[in-house]
Symmetry: C2
Subunit: 237 residues, 2 copies
Amino acid sequence: MNEAALRPTAKLLVKRLDAVASYRAQAYSTLKQAIAALDIYSEPGELRLDERQLSQELGVSRTPIREALALLEQEGFVRTEPRRGIFVLRKRKREIVEMILVWAALESMAARLATLYASDAEIAGLRRLMEAFASGNGAEASEEYSDANIAFHQAIIRMSGCALLSEMTENLFLHMRAIRQLTIHQDDRAERSIVDHMRIIEALERRDTEAAESLVRKHSLDLAAHVERSENFLEAP
Amino acid sequence: MNEAALRPTAKLLVKRLDAVASYRAQAYSTLKQAIAALDIYSEPGELRLDERQLSQELGVSRTPIREALALLEQEGFVRTEPRRGIFVLRKRKREIVEMILVWAALESMAARLATLYASDAEIAGLRRLMEAFASGNGAEASEEYSDANIAFHQAIIRMSGCALLSEMTENLFLHMRAIRQLTIHQDDRAERSIVDHMRIIEALERRDTEAAESLVRKHSLDLAAHVERSENFLEAP
DNA sequence: TCGCGGAGACTGGTATACCATATACCTCGA
DNA sequence: TCGAGGTATATGGTATACCAGTCTCCGCGA
């Protein structure tokens, strides 16, 4: 075929119509978000979900709901007990510490990669992000700080250029947000945290691979040790 | 209640009947294993699965099969295209490199934790594992070496005492086994690998946290760089 | 001979009916 | 009065029917 002879078709710059998301996918993200917003660590009793009730509320049959719940179960957000119910899970202290350890591992690797592959612009953006917050009202609005804190760590992971790192930390952050009130807001963690972050930014700017990695790891391991010491967790089932 | 007054019921020494695994759970593990055993990187064309056919072969309805496949899709083993089929996924080079980077992050953290928490017996066991192999027929039986290699790395992760680390690396290893022929069997990787492993064991024995972590990381990053250089991968969809 | 279209089979998505068991409640007898 | 045991109900698990795109292939017409 002689393509050159053909009149070029007008480029319309259309995007592929992404087949309307399936009910399953919609149920999955809706439920995930709803669970993340639950603040389960303040609620007292067991939190049970009902397939039939959810199916009514979302206006679809049980099938896509069930499949969505199966995914959430694999991600550790719910646990289903046959013929008893589906329960939103609370993490134990041990599990939270483990999540932070994994996070430390992944983010320190991200920092290493960031010193090698991130652009100067990206690193500068990180500094702006942090300074914008630090110049604010200090470490008072805990909610706000917590969001800025998570944004900082997610930015480092994004700067690694490794999509899998982002993917694998996504759920960790979601679980972590649920227990945010524990991870900050005690002694002088917020202020020390800002100092740590600044040191990390400086290491990134110097492209000091080992230092960046080490600082990020230490920062997270500090948090793990802090949670390990804390007492306010349900230890028993 | 006066229990002592009651005739004790005969002790039958029965174990709790562990609720027979659901069809979904069985389908999940069966399919996962079957896919892992598939050697997809040697097969030529697309590998398509058919829900109805699987349901016939496994002797259950489509429902549990579908739910199992949804889990496998989330884990990155298959991709389903509505009304077209379910396809076993092949990883691209980029994705494999990212898996190795994540693995490096997690295993180096595991090594760190192992120097702190593993028992001397566990570390001694690791040395025995490695020496048993090294004293064997050298680096020839590549299949055998690959298994010993994976066993070594999994042992380190187990010695960290962090269940989440094991959990998160499990699927990485599964994907890695599928491309084992690429990760070894070239230049002198096998022999160098054994040297690396011995150095790692020595660091663990010295309880040298930083060295153990760093050696493990370097070892894995070497592999990542090796794969990055290799050419024998399908790059295009 | 070629290609355009449509019919029909195929396949994943969804809805629904039914099943088995865990739980709560009720009944009846000691 | 109290508890053992039966029974109704609730709930997750499974089977099945139907739906809506997608693909194949054949036939008709240019």
